[in-house]
Amino acid sequence: MNCAQAIQGLDAYLEGSAGVPEREALERHLAACDACRASLGDLRALRDAAEALPPSLRPPRDLWPGIADRLAPREDLRRGIRRRRAVWLAAAAVLLMVASSGGTALLLRRTPPAAERLSAGTLTLEASYLDAARELSRVLEEERSALAPATVETLERNLAVINDAIAESRAALAADPANPALTALLWSAHRRKVSLLEQAVRTLTQS
């Protein structure tokens, strides 16, 4: 083991997460290398200093007045939660309606319907999905700060992928309106989008 490898392995060694062969190799190197031993000493000192930092620091001024002014009465907060739940239930009802009526009918049709009828049906059904997605998105936007940043990031990344899929399916369907496979792809992408938003809203209302 050379010094560069030893330096790379010091963190894991110090935390006790290095494997036995790595630990033994590192210890052999440390026994013979003053510089790396000094680095290990520095790391230990840094770790000890970090652990010794005071866990609590008094802010320079009283922050409570600025907090107290912003505390909504508990009943208002409960009303807000009930409203969000109501919105979620309404959106879920829209989804159920979509899934149990036009959507299923369109998806289960064996023969492609006439282009004009498909076009009208497509627009009507799509409007239902868009309404549901819009309502859910509005709730999420209002409550964005309640979600962990990592969750928001994942949600946004997945939504971007699904939105691309929706755009592609729509473009393809515009060119070939009677194609049942393309229709199925479009509904599938819409369902995934609403389902993803629905999951995120459910996380909020259950928190």
Binding site: L46, S56, L57, W64, A68, P149
Partner: protein, 167 residues
Amino acid sequence: MELVRKAQAGDAEAFRLLYEEHVGRVYALCLRLERDAARAEELTQDAFVRAWEALEGFRGEAAFSTWLHRLTVNVVLSSRRSLARRARRFIDTDDAPAPARAATPGLAVDLERALQTLPDGARTVFVLHDVEGYRHGEIATMLGVAEGTSKAQLFRARRLLREVLTR
């Protein structure tokens, strides 16, 4: 838990007592995650307001302090993200230059000062791991990065801190 139960029922005075008990810990976390003392005060206030709003969902599965601590980390990270979004900055904020001097004049400890010279990503991981005791897996989840990224940022933070402290 009595104070928590009262605050859950809407007792603002009980919540003030919880604030008194925990504000030092929340402020210390905000100050170490951000580099600016005024910003840390704002975030501390945001964290307590958010805690009040979310308190009914606290079921006591973890200690209140643990719950509040995690919520504070989320408030800080979320605020950082939305500031970046508003500024529409497409540069990596991790490479943003550190301020010329420490923004916490009251802190005498060398490490506190050295921490403020670190880039955001390295400082965040160092504070969460070495100061607050979170594991890499937890940090990776909070930050939305791979566990290896958290380890690499910690390695970088420790290297930079040693350089600053031995200058």
